[in-house]
């Protein structure tokens, strides 16, 4: 078994991956976007700059974006493993990665308004631990910046304004509205994680967990899959474009989950992720062998 310090080392590696190595499916989507834009347009130039930046960050193992965000962490662990140990090890990993400039000191004490200086504080990072029957630990993370986090939105249905009822069409209307409201402010072209159902807290958490999915995967539930494909197309018809400069590439993907709801509530929670979808995952064996996941 690995010691707590060894877990911290592994987690620092996962953070370094996420901060500097953009997943290949996101890179491919950005390239498709660039090729779709008019040559010489503001949209094409913005995407060119983004693609250059992705390569520079990758080659130098430096942060893709200076806002290294909140680390959102999901850990699966074998039966009997201490979740306190894993959470503590990840918190320490955030402090160490911050000291090595893989993360920015990104935690501000909300009472004193002072930056903690080491990137960690109550609620940062958010670590979700879940037991499973496998012998390995699987850790998946997303680094989600503040600019895009500020573009998240939660809707309570029905909505007269959006002509949205408590059904899939209503869900679709809310998500499309969220894309339009975000404009370019969340660093378009963005990726939409959404959840319908749940309460106000669980709905947002699930919407963020959707951001762990590959852009080219398909939702196993046919109705939701169809909605994801339709929203991707409709979002790009809004014409907001990269950075909100206007253009054809407004979003790169839409990923939707659903939870049960109370009879009285019907929430649609939308998390906007910037183009720099800094997602990383690793499966780590009892002896410390690492298998990187896409």
């Amino acid at each position: 078994m690995l010691t707590r310090e060894q877990w911290t080392e592994k987690f620092v590696d996962v953070i370094a991956h996420a901060s500097s190595q953009l997943p290949p499916d996101v890179l491919a989507a950005l390239k498709r976007g660039r090729d779709a834009e008019e040559p010489g347009s503001l949209a094409a130039k913005a995407l060119d700059s983004i693609l250059t930046n992705v390569e520079m960050a990758k080659g130098n193992w430096q942060p893709i974006c200076q806002d290294t965000g909140t680390p959102l962490v999901w850990i699966h662990h074998p039966v009997g493993m201490s979740t306190r140990m894993l959470t503590g090890a990840f918190e320490e990993a955030v402090r160490q990665a911050t000291g090595r400039q893989m993360l920015r000191p990104n935690a501000v004490d909300t009472l004193t308004d002072k930056n903690t200086g080491h990137g960690q504080g109550p609620g940062i990072p958010t670590v979700h631990c879940e037991e499973w029957d496998e012998p390995d630990v699987e850790v998946r993370i997303v680094l989600k910046g503040g600019g895009c986090e500020n573009c998240g939105a939660q809707y309570s249905l029905p909505s007269i304004k959006l002509k949205a009822d408590r059904d899939l069409d209503g869900v679709r209307r809310c998500i499309l509205d969220a894309v339009a409201q975000a404009q370019g402010k969340g660093c378009a072209p963005g990726i939409i994680g959404a959840c319908f159902g749940g309460d106000r807290g669980s709905g947002y958490v699930e919407s963020k967990r959707q951001l762990l999915r590959r852009l080219d995967d398909r939702n196993p539930i046919p109705e939701i899959d169809a909605m994801e494909q339709q929203l991707l197309e409709q979002g790009n018809q809004l014409g907001i474009g990269p950075m909100g400069f206007g253009g054809k590439t407004t979003i790169l993907g839409v990923k939707i989950g659903n939870l049960a709801r109370l009879p009285a509530s019907y929430f649609v929670s939308v998390s906007y992720m910037c183009w720099a979808n800094r997602r990383a995952g690793a499966r780590i064996s009892e002896k410390g062998a690492v298998q990187w996941l896409n």
Partner: protein, 195 residues
């Protein structure tokens, strides 16, 4: 691509319009949420000369402190400017700024301030922290580091060929307002909400 040296003068700024690409060289200062508050409470003599006829960059950089005490920017893309909307026009007027660099654009109050004082909004590509950090050739000094922390401090930097595009000019044009209007009209059409 056109070049602009900082500091600059009002005539140069009045000559710029929405859609112009620019490469900036010279000295500028960074500042975001805490800095804008601070700049408006009293007159901050110690930084005034860095703001006059130059630009303020909305950024919270990742910074490395070297053993001999000097700093370099490791990652430095723009942050969302909209949060400074209540303060920006006043900061521009008070300190004689000629421009703002950020992302996402700003609103009507800032647009009016740009017209009134002869300044522009310059959009850098959000998330391109490596491309832009490379254009920061020197970190000269820093203000309010202890009080505000690394992301919120005011860093005085030298840049070379720092790429931006004018998205709000000093003649009342805003690309952001245009795109927002068109995209929201499209949304209303798609959802059948048009009156």
């Amino acid at each position: 691509m056109a070049k602009l040296s900082l500091p600059c003068d009002e005539a140069q700024i009045r000559g710029l319009k929405v859609g112009d690409f620019l490469e900036l060289s010279g000295r500028m200062i960074t500042g975001r949420d805490a800095a804008h508050h601070w700049l408006l409470h009293g007159f901050r003599e110690e930084v005034a000369s860095f703001l006059k006829d130059s630009v303020i960059y909305h950024v919270g950089p990742v910074v490395k402190k070297h053993e001999d005490g000097h700093y370099t920017f490791v990652a430095a893309g723009p942050t969302t400017s909209a949060r400074e909307e209540p303060f920006q026009a006043d900061v521009i007027g008070k300190y004689g700024l000629r421009g703002v660099i950020g992302k996402g654009g700003m609103g009507p109050k800032t647009l009016k301030g740009l017209q009134e004082h002869g300044a522009v909004y310059l959009h850098a590509v959000g998330g391109t922290a490596q491309v832009l950090a490379q254009a920061v050739v020197k970190v000269e000094q820093v203000f309010q580091l202890k009080e505000f922390g690394v992301p919120e401090a005011l860093w005085v930097i030298q840049v070379k060929d720092f790429p931006v595009v004018v998205t709000m000019d000093s003649h009342g044009s805003s690309l952001h307002a245009e795109v927002e209007k068109a995209s929201k009209a499209k949304l209303e059409q798609m959802l059948g909400l048009s009156a």
